[in-house]
């Protein structure tokens, strides 16, 4: 099983966690164009390689944290 380094609980199996995904900044609703909303809602980097992403430790400390992961090998390391 893939292990994720929870900054509070230490390394734990991936099934304890919920994937939150890439972070994105919400555009201002008053001024955003439909294209900007589309980008915010639907577009992802979907990168192959090392990414920085958000996870939630559902079956542990129940806290959000950042993590670095290689998306092809699923190797993980603590976010720096």
């Amino acid at each position: 099983m893939i292990e994720l380094p929870c900054p509070w609980c230490g390394p734990r199996g991936v099934s304890e966690f919920r994937y939150v995904g890439e972070g994105a900044t919400r555009p201002d609703p008053a001024t955003a164009t439909p294209q900007e909303w589309r980008a915010y809602l639907y577009l992802h980097e979907n990168a192959r390689g090392w990414v920085r992403e958000n996870w939630y430790h559902t079956a542990g400390c129940r806290r959000f944290f950042k993590l670095e992961r290689e998306t092809e090998s699923n190797e993980t390391r603590a976010a720096t």
Partner: protein, 419 residues
């Protein structure tokens, strides 16, 4: 020696068998030309079907299909080969039903035995919510002329006696959406059949040819660069799955696609006993028995984005447990192997097809968990879109611009088991 252009038939099989010579290769290898009229990226069922229908229906034969690996080595060789058209939206139902129609006649059309087995498709409902969705789907299907109906547990038991339809289980079966035209097919044979037929019409199939860049000048595609050299082409079609965002990015086109692995497994072969495809959304599993007797199990996509194609032990444990909840009698069966394929998920569980802001760069991507069953109709309609330079009605709802317009084609309730 059989003439390369000779048809496969019982007579050719007998004469060839008696001569005991090697069968000729089903398709040729070529040197890379400097230019093609159309370059198709991705040598799976979608790319090969697009090339085949370009040549057959529209007479465009100066076409290259490029694959970084071997033909049918991606999603086309990793799916669970289930065919059906009982979707949730009218746009989806029409589209997938055209595909089923093409699949029905594919063996004769391609002169290749694709082993389509029309055996009926059951989607089980384990709670009131899913039973309500089944009724909704059945009514949408009937309006489109699709054979699809909700049946009760006794009728389910009659069709699949090995299912536990008692109310003693954790998730009792309350009913099912029954779709008699659904079935399974030999997925590799579909790839090989399209490849051979396209080759015979003059299409160049280039394996081990990886696209490393796409040339765009003034918002117009001019060609592709590969590990075997550059090709100039006015039309480039992205027919890849799993890596589609990497290819689209090369042309500067961003798509709302995220890649998730989907794991599947197969058991040792046993005598035929399961004569329908059984799907359970609640248990995230689908089961069918191949013509060889193996049981093929598929699941929902993994819970996080990844390009990894390795299976995991916790997955097979969960999968086996779910299969046994449905069919306890299988507890002594052994698994032979497991694998994963990559699914390009879109926000509305419908594909992205047609033109892009880059002129000449076409998309046939975002095939999530439903790409294989759509192979023939995708090829047919992409070929038509390219040849006529207009978007065919049947794919008009699947354009890339629908996300900005807010006109999504929500198929989540019928396209996957992972919800």
């Amino acid at each position: 020696m059989i003439d390369r252009n000779g048809k496969y038939s019982a007579i050719s099989l007998i004469t060839h068998g008696l001569r005991k010579s090697e069968w000729p290769r089903a398709w040729r290898a070529h040197d890379l030309r400097k230019s093609y009229d159309v370059v198709v990226i991705g040598g799976g069922v979608h790319g090969l079907a697009t090339a085949y229908y370009l040549a057959k229906n529209h007479g465009i034969t100066n076409v290259a299909v490029l694959d970084k690996g071997y033909l049918g080595g991606g999603g086309s060789g990793r799916n669970t080969a289930i065919l059906r058209s009982n979707y949730l939206t009218p746009e989806g139902v029409r589209f997938y039903d055209r595909s089923l129609e093409l699949y029905r006649h594919l063996a004769a059309d391609l002169n290749f035995n694709v082993m389509f087995s029309r055996r009926g498709h059951l989607t089980l409902a384990h709670n009131d919510g899913s039973l309500r969705t089944m009724r909704w789907r059945a009514e949408v299907n009937k309006l489109q002329g699709i054979d699809s109906q909700v049946i009760d547990p006794a009728q389910v038991k009659e069709l699949v006696p090995h299912l536990d339809t008692s109310d003693e289980t954790r998730y009792p079966i309350l009913g099912a959406l029954y779709h008699p035209p659904g079935g399974i097919i030999r997925h590799d044979a579909v790839v090989w059949g399209y490849a051979r037929a396209a080759d015979r019409l003059g299409v160049h199939l280039h394996q081990k040819t990886e696209v490393t860049g796409i040339d765009v000048v003034n918002e117009r595609v001019t060609g592709v660069r590969t590990n075997r050299g550059a090709i100039s082409a006015p039309i480039v079609v992205n027919c890849t799955a799993g890596w589609s965002t990497l290819i689209s990015d090369m042309a500067g086109v961003r798509t709302p696609v995220q890649t998730f692995p989907l794991q599947a497994a197969v058991t040792e072969p046993v005598r035929p006993f399961l004569h329908a495809v059984v799907v359970s959304g609640t248990l995230h599993v689908y089961v069918s028995q191949t013509d060889r007797g193996e049981l093929v199990f598929g699941a929902s996509v993994d819970p996080f984005q990844s390009y990894s194609m390795r299976g995991s032990l916790e997955f097979v444990e969960g999968l086996a447990a779910h299969v046994l909840e449905l069919m306890p009698g299988l507890s002594q069966m052994r698994l032979l192997r497991q694998w994963a394929g990559l699914c390009d998920m879109t926000p509305d569980y419908s594909p992205i097809m047609g033109t892009t802001p880059v002129e000449g760069f076409y998309l046939d991507v975002g095939w999530g968990t439903y790409g294989f069953k759509a192979g023939p109709v995708s090829g047919e309609s992409m070929a038509q879109a390219i040849a006529t330079r207009s978007t065919p009605e049947i794919i008009s709802a699947f354009g890339l611009d629908r996300f900005a317009e807010g006109e999504l084609v929500g198929e989540k309730g019928a396209a996957a088991v992972g919800h």
